[in-house]
Subunit: 201 residues, 2 copies
């Protein structure tokens, strides 16, 4: 994302303070958006970074651009977590691990939760990242369904949506609370004793 020293072609490598500030802005943005959600203010980001607003805007031309950079980061984390969960032997446990991890991430980052809930994947880059995330989730789901532990009548796109809904609660409550909600939903998702669902959309 930021060319290191001795990189390509004509432009020389960026100055040391620029690199330092880029990182600081990124960190400050993460903190601000995690705390206040999408309503976090650019002035606040600048303040946390110990930098003027002008500097923030030099590194990210727009609030949305900063948001995108942070979001891509988070989605990457989620994909990594998903891949790791796919390696867990027990299919059901792999599946629940993904859900729990997703809930944790949303609980820890209000901005992330709001972005997922709003379903706004404006940029192509975000859209691509989200597609990858869905792919990963789908793999784990199919495995759990094949093993007979996840009910077969849940559609692939149901789970991300369900998680998204949960995130609301997750954001506004303490951890023990959403642990319970997650448990309820998981019980609803188990294959045994499930009642018939209405047909997929």
């Amino acid at each position: 994302m930021f060319p290191g020293p001795a990189t390509t072609n004509p432009p020389r490598s960026p100055r040391a303070d620029a690199v330092r500030n880029h990182v600081r802005v990124l960190e400050a943005g993460a903190a601000a958006f995690a705390e206040y959600g999408l309503d976090a203010q650019m002035d606040d980001v600048a303040g946390r970074a110990g930098v003027g607003v002008g500097t923030v805007y030099r590194h990210f031309p727009t609030k949305e651009a900063l948001l995108e950079a942070l979001l891509l980061d988070r989605i990457g984390e989620a994909v990594a977590a998903g891949r790791k969960a796919a390696l867990i032997e027990d299919p059901w446990e792999g599946f629940t691990t993904i859900l729990r991890r997703a809930a944790e991430m949303q609980a820890a980052d209000r901005g992330f939760a709001e972005l997922l809930a709003a379903g706004l994947a404006r940029t192509d880059a975000v859209q691509a990242a989200m597609a990858e995330l869905h792919e990963t989730t789908a793999t784990v789901m199919r495995r759990a369904q094949a093993a007979g532990s996840l009910r077969a009548d849940v559609a692939l796109e149901d789970v991300p949506n369900l998680m998204c809904g949960l995130s609301r609660v997750v954001g506004s409550s303490d951890r023990p609370a959403w642990e319970r909600y997650l448990a309820i939903v998981l019980d609803g998702l188990r294959a045994d004793r499930a009642t018939a669902l209405p047909p997929a959309a």
Copy 2:
């Protein structure tokens, strides 16, 4: 809320056009907030009512006041629905009816869903109304738990929260979608075959 003709004391009854516009503003507000959520604009409300902004502000001194009036209405509806559900013979069916109705209301009114999700009961009046709603819900829940159909380890406050989470999905998707989510959650709430929940907060 609006004194009819021949009401109390010194002030004479309001003019006919004032009454007419009051209703129009209320209806326009309901429509606007239902469509755009809390971000609906006062100018839009005025436009829909076929009235100037000034008129809107004469009837409701503030955006929040208009919101409150509408919200109280909706909560009243919800309470009525809850009382009706309490009369259904089968306890479990009564419980599911409440949840379904709540989901329907939120799907139909984005502003209502956002208010519930945000959990902002700023005014005393709203707070009181919400308390009444919770009371009603609690009654139906206790009955379903006593009958052994609703799992006993769900706390009273869990259900409103869970609904709130669902509403997110409800708003952004079509009806068949959230019907399925609701079914999943309900399966998770059934007493039979439930796994142990973490302790209440």
